[in-house]
C-alpha cells in the first residue's frame, strides 16, 4: 500500500505540476512573439559579432567603428567595467519615453539602420562585405518582431488565472486528486505499520522504554563517577570525553531512530512530549563534551546530571502515553518502567 501510495502521489504531482506550469493561451502567444524577437535579435547580434571579429587582425577602417565595432581597448569601457559618469537623462529617457505604437517603433528601428546603407563598404574585403550584408539583413529581420514584442499588452492576473483554468483546469484537478489519493494511501500505510507494531505494542514500548532506561543509567553512572573526582587529571578528562563521545554516537542514535515509529503510534503531541526532553538530554551530553574539551570539569558533571534528569522525564512521558489508548485505538502498551 505504501508503494502504491508513493506511485500514485508521484503520478499526481507530475500531472498537476505539468498542467499547473502550462501557460495560458494568451501568455503562450506572447511568448511566441517574445521568442521570435529574442531569437532574431540574437541572430543579428551574432552576425554583428562575426562581422566585427573580421577586424580583429589587420586594418580597421573607419566604417568598422561607424558600424559599431569598437576597437578592443574600448570594449571594457563599453561594457561598463570602467567607472564613468552616469548619464541620468539617457537612462531616464528610455524609462520615461512616451508610449509608441508598433508601427512607430518599427519605423524608428528601420530608420536607425539607414545610415549603414549610406556608407560605402568598398574599402572592405569581399569576405567582410559578405559578413556586413548578412548582419544588416539579420538586423532588418529583427526590427519588426522586436517592435511587435515591445508593445505586447500586460496580461492581467485574473485573465491569466481564468484562461489557465479553462485550458488546463480539468487535468490539473485530476492531478491534484491523484496527489490527495496517494497521500492518503501513504498515511494509511504508515498507520497500518504503526498498528502492526502496536499488535506487539507492549514489546515496542518496552523496547523504547528499555533503551531510555539503559541510556539514563549510563548517563547517571557517568555523572556519578565524574562527581566523585575532586581534582581530575588530564587522563580523567580524556577518558570521560571518550565515554561521552561513545554515548553521543552509539547510544543516542538507536533511541532517536525510533522517532518515526513513536510519532506514528502516539501522534504528534505525545511524540513532542517524549522527544522534547530526550533532545534536551542529548544537548546536555553534547554540552558535557564541550565543557570537557574546555577543561571545565564542574560543567561537565552538571551537564551529565541534567541529561540524566531529562532522560527520566522522557521515560515518564513515554510511560504516561503508553499506558493510555494510542490514537490508533490499539491495546495499551505496558508501562516500560
Amino acid at each position: 500500500m505504501k508503494y502504491a501510495g508513493i506511485l500514485i502521489l508521484s503520478l499526481g504531482v507530475a500531472v498537476s505540476a505539468a498542467y499547473g506550469a502550462r501557460l495560458s493561451p494568451t501568455m503562450r502567444a506572447q511568448m511566441v512573439a517574445r521568442g521570435r524577437a529574442q531569437l532574431l535579435a540574437s541572430t543579428a547580434d551574432a552576425a554583428h559579432g562575426a562581422y566585427c571579429a573580421s577586424f580583429a587582425e589587420g586594418p580597421r577602417p573607419p566604417i568598422a567603428t561607424l558600424d559599431g565595432c569598437a576597437p578592443p581597448a574600448a570594449e571594457g569601457a563599453e561594457s561598463g567595467e570602467a567607472a564613468s559618469a552616469v548619464d541620468v537623462e539617457a537612462v531616464c529617457a528610455g524609462r520615461n519615453a512616451p508610449e509608441q505604437t508598433e508601427a512607430e517603433l518599427a519605423r524608428a528601428g528601420h530608420a536607425a539602420l539607414e545610415p549603414h546603407y549610406d556608407r560605402d563598404p568598398s574599402v572592405l574585403s569581399a569576405d567582410q562585405q559578405r559578413l556586413r550584408t548578412a548582419w544588416l539583413a539579420a538586423a532588418e529581420d529583427a526590427v519588426d518582431p522586436g517592435a511587435a514584442a515591445a508593445v505586447l499588452t500586460t496580461v492581467r492576473p485574473q485573465q491569466r488565472l481564468t484562461e489557465w483554468l479553462d485550458d488546463s483546469g480539468v487535468m490539473f484537478f485530476v492531478g491534484i486528486l491523484l496527489v490527495i489519493a496517494g497521500a492518503v494511501l501513504g498515511r494509511m500505510a504508515v498507520k497500518r505499520e504503526a498498528s502492526a507494531g502496536a499488535e506487539d505494542g507492549a514489546a515496542e514500548a518496552r523496547d523504547l522504554g528499555e533503551l531510555l532506561a539503559e541510556l539514563r543509567d549510563e548517563v547517571a553512572t557517568l555523572a556519578a563517577e565524574a562527581a566523585a573526582k575532586d581534582d581530575p587529571a588530564q587522563a580523567d578528562f580524556d577518558a570521560l570525553k571518550t565515554k561521552v563521545h561513545d554515548l553521543q554516537l552509539e547510544r543516542f542514535e538507536p533511541v532517536i531512530d525510533s522517532a518515526p515509529r513513536v510519532q506514528a503510534k502516539y501522534g504528534m503531541g505525545p511524540f513532542a512530549e517524549i522527544f522534547g526532553p530526550l533532545s534536551s538530554a542529548e544537548r546536555y551530553v553534547n554540552r558535557a563534551w564541550s565543557a570537557l574539551v574546555d577543561h571545565h570539569w564542574p560543567e561537565g558533571c552538571a551537564s551529565l546530571q541534567r541529561a540524566a534528569a531529562d532522560l527520566k522525564d522522557a521515560e515518564a512521558a513515554l510511560s504516561a502515553h503508553s499506558s493510555s489508548p494510542t490514537p490508533n485505538d490499539q491495546p495499551a502498551a505496558e508501562d516500560p518502567s
Binding site: A17, A83, V91, T154, I256, G267, N286, D294, H295
Partner: protein, 603 residues
C-alpha cells in the same frame, strides 16, 4: 583553560563585543559585495571562522592589547562562547542580504521618478530592525519543532559545529576537516577563473553532461562544481531525496513534456527555420524556468509550508506549552519565555506599523495597519519556509520569498512603491534572520549551547546590522559618479536591486504570475498530506532552483546513503561529517578570499 571555580563562559561581554564588531564589518563588506556581484557570502560559516580566530586565538593570547584587557580573559574562547560570537556576528550580518537585495530598488526607481524620492533613512532603519526582531521572535516556538523533533540537518549548522568542536575532536578529525577544506578550496579556485592560474587548469562552474551527449539544454543533465552543495547533500543523506525528485520532475518530466505536447512555443510558431540558434536556451530559461517552473515552485513552497504548519500544529502547541512553563519557572529554564514571544511580536508589529506610517503618510491608518499585519503574518510564514528549506538542503529561497513579500505589500498599500519596498526590507530582514537563527541554534544544539542565551544574544544586537547596511547603501549611491549603482554606467551593478525594480515596474503595469502561484499552492497543500515532513517545501525548492545545483546536492545524498549502508552510522559521524563540513567551510572561505581579492584588484 577555564578555572574549575569560574562559571563556564558562554554569554559574555567579550563574545558580544567581538560578535558585534565582526558582524558590523561583515555587513558593510557584504553589502558592497552584494551591490557589486549580486550575491552575499555564507554569514554563519565566515563568522565562525573569524570568531574562532579572534576569540580563541588573538584575544586569548592578548595580541589585541587594550581590547583584550577590556573584554577577554585567559579563559576566553570556550566552545559555547565562540558559538555566541558566530551567532551574534551572523545575526548582525543578516542585514547585508536583507537590505542590499531590496532597498537599492527604491533608489533605482527614484532616479527617473521624482515622486519616489520622498523617503528618508529613519523608516527604512525602523522597518529593517523591526523585521529582524520579528524574525527572531517567530523562530522561538519553532526551535523545538525543527531541531529537536523534526531534527532537520542544517548542513551549514553542522559544519559550524564541527569547526567549533575541532579543538577537542582529535588529530584524525582535524585532518579530515582540513582535507575536505583543501579539496573544496582547490576546486573552487579552479572554477573561479582566477587570472594567475593557467587557463588550461580552469574548470567550468557547471559541467553540462547532457549538452556533451547532444541532449537539448531544456532537459539539463548537469552538475555544478560546488563542494559546498556536495557537502550539504552528504550531510542530508536520504532526507534530501524528495528535493532531488522535485528537480528531476521539473526538468526531466515537465520540461520535455511541455515541448513534446507543444505547450512551449515552437520554431514553426515563431516563423523561424528549424535549427535556429538559441532556441533550446530560450525554452530552458525565459519559458520553462522564468514563466513556468520558478513561479510554480514558489507556489508549491508556500502551499507546502502552510500544510506543514497545519500538520505540526500539535507539536507547536506543545512547544508553546513548554515556553509557558519556562515563563513560570523563571530564569532557570533553557527556553525563552513565552512573554518574550508575545511581547516581541507586539513590539515589532508596532515598529513595522510606525515604519509604514512614516514611509507612506498618505497610506492612512487603516491601510498601514493592514499592510503591517499582513507583513507580519507573511514574515512568519516565509520565515518558516526559509528555515525549513535551509534545514533540509542548506539552500534558502530568500529572494523569492522577499519578492512575494514586496508584491503583497504593493497590492495592500494600493501601489505605494515606497511603503512596499520599505516593508519589503523588513520582510527580507526577518526571513533571513529566521534561517540564520535556526542554523545557529542547530550548531548550538550540537555543541550543547543554551538556546535561551543564543536567542538573548541575537535579540540584543539584531538591530545593529540595519543602520550599518542602510548607511552603506546611502553612501554607495552617493559615491563615485552618483548614482552609484543599478543603472547603465554606474560603478556597481546591484543586480538583485535592479531585478526587483523591474518586477515593481511590471507590478505597476498590472502583471503578476497569479495562475502559477495558485496552481503551485494547491500542489503544495496536497503534498502536505503525505506523511513525509517538508515534502512540499523540498519539491517546490527544487523547481525554484536551476537544476545543476539540485544535481550536485543529489549526488551528495546518494553517496551518503551508499556510505551509510556500507560503513555504518559511527563511521558517518566520525569520518563523513568532518569531511563534508570541510567542504562547506572550504568553499565559503575561498569565496570570501576570491571576492575580496578581485575587488582589491579592481575586478
Amino acid at each position: 583553560m577555564a578555572s574549575p571555580q569560574a562559571p563556564y563562559r558562554e554569554l559574555t561581554p567579550a563574545a558580544l563585543v567581538v560578535g558585534v564588531v565582526l558582524g558590523a564589518v561583515m555587513t558593510a563588506a557584504f553589502v558592497f559585495v552584494a551591490l557589486k556581484l549580486g550575491f552575499t557570502l555564507p554569514g554563519s560559516t565566515v563568522a565562525a571562522i573569524l570568531g574562532f580566530a579572534v576569540l580563541r586565538g588573538m584575544l586569548r593570547r592578548s595580541a589585541l592589547g587594550f581590547l583584550s584587557a577590556l573584554v577577554a580573559t585567559k579563559d576566553s574562547g570556550t566552545i559555547v562562547e565562540t558559538n555566541i560570537v558566530q551567532t551574534v556576528a551572523s545575526g548582525v550580518n543578516t542585514a547585508s542580504a536583507g537590505v542590499a537585495f531590496t532597498l537599492p530598488a527604491l533608489f533605482i526607481l527614484s532616479l527617473c521618478d521624482p515622486e519616489l524620492r520622498g523617503f528618508g533613512p529613519l523608516p527604512i532603519v525602523l522597518a529593517a530592525a523591526g523585521g529582524a526582531f520579528l524574525g527572531i521572535v517567530f523562530i522561538i516556538p519553532l526551535r523545538k519543532q525543527m531541531i529537536e523533533l523534526e531534527r532537520l540537518r542544517f548542513p551549514s549548522g553542522i559544519a559550524v559545529a564541527t569547526l567549533l568542536k575541532s579543538p577537542g575532536a582529535g588529530i584524525r578529525q582535524a585532518k579530515l576537516l582540513g582535507g575536505g577544506f583543501a579539496v573544496a578550496a582547490l576546486f573552487h579556485v579552479l572554477a573561479g577563473e582566477v587570472s594567475w592560474i593557467p587557463e588550461v587548469l580552469h574548470i567550468p562552474e557547471e559541467i553540462e553532461i547532457g549538452v556533451m551527449l547532444g541532449v537539448p539544454s531544456y532537459i539539463p543533465i548537469a552538475v555544478g562544481v560546488s563542494f559546498a552543495s556536495l557537502g550539504a547533500g552528504l550531510l542530508s543523506g536520504r532526507g534530501g531525496l524528495p528535493f532531488v525528485f522535485g528537480g528531476m520532475l521539473a526538468w526531466w518530466v515537465i520540461s520535455p513534456l511541455m515541448v513534446g505536447m507543444g505547450w512551449a512555443p515552437t520554431l514553426m510558431d515563431m516563423g523561424l527555420p528549424e535549427g535556429t540558434d538559441g532556441y533550446d536556451g530560450f525554452i530552458q530559461w525565459p519559458v520553462a524556468y522564468s514563466e513556468m517552473l520558478r513561479p510554480l515552485g514558489i507556489g508549491i513552497l508556500i502551499g507546502g509550508a502552510l500544510s506543514g504548519v497545519i500538520a505540526s500544529a500539535p507539536a507547536i502547541v506543545a512547544a508553546l506549552k513548554s515556553l509557558n512553563a519556562a515563563s513560570k519557572s523563571g530564569s532557570g529554564s533553557d527556553e525563552m519565555s513565552s512573554r518574550v514571544l508575545y511581547g516581541g511580536i507586539a513590539a515589532s508589529f508596532v515598529v513595522l506599523f510606525t515604519a509604514a506610517m512614516l514611509a507612506g503618510p498618505d497610506l492612512g491608518v487603516g491601510r498601514a495597519l493592514i499592510t503591517a499585519t499582513v507583513g507580519t503574518v507573511w514574515l512568519g510564514l516565509a520565515g518558516l519556509i526559509v528555515a525549513q528549506a535551509t534545514g533540509m538542503t542548506d539552500i534558502s529561497p530568500i529572494s523569492g520569498m522577499s519578492l512575494i513579500g514586496v508584491t503583497l505589500m504593493f497590492f495592500l498599500s494600493g501601489g505605494n512603491v515606497i511603503a512596499s519596498i520599505i516593508l519589503g526590507v523588513a520582510v527580507s530582514m526577518g526571513i533571513g534572520q529566521c534561517a540564520d537563527m535556526m542554523s545557529d541554534l542547530k550548531s548550538g544544539h550540537l555543541i550543547g549551547a543554551t538556546p535561551k542565551r543564543q536567542q538573548l544574544a541575537q535579540f540584543a544586537v539584531a538591530w545593529v546590522g540595519a543602520p550599518v547596511a542602510v548607511a552603506v547603501v546611502y553612501l554607495l549611491w552617493n559615491s563615485y559618479d552618483s548614482p552609484g549603482f543599478g543603472v547603465a554606467g554606474a560603478s556597481l551593478s546591484a543586480p538583485q536591486g535592479a531585478a526587483l525594480a523591474t518586477v515593481i515596474d511590471s507590478l505597476r503595469a498590472g502583471s503578476s504570475q497569479l495562475d502559477k502561484f495558485v496552481a503551485g499552492g494547491a500542489v503544495g497543500l496536497g503534498l502536505g498530506i503525505f506523511p513525509i515532513g517538508g515534502l512540499g517545501v523540498l519539491v517546490g525548492l527544487a523547481m525554484y532552483l536551476p537544476f545543476y545545483i539540485t544535481m550536485t546536492y543529489g549526488v551528495g545524498c546518494f553517496i551518503s546513503m551508499g556510505l551509510e549502508a556500507k560503513m555504518g552510522k559511527r563511521w558517518m559521524g566520525d569520518t563523513l561529517v568532518p569531511v563534508a563540513a570541510g567542504f562547506i567551510i572550504g568553499e565559503a572561505l575561498t569565496s570570501l578570499t576570491l571576492v575580496f581579492g578581485r575587488l582589491a584588484m579592481g575586478g
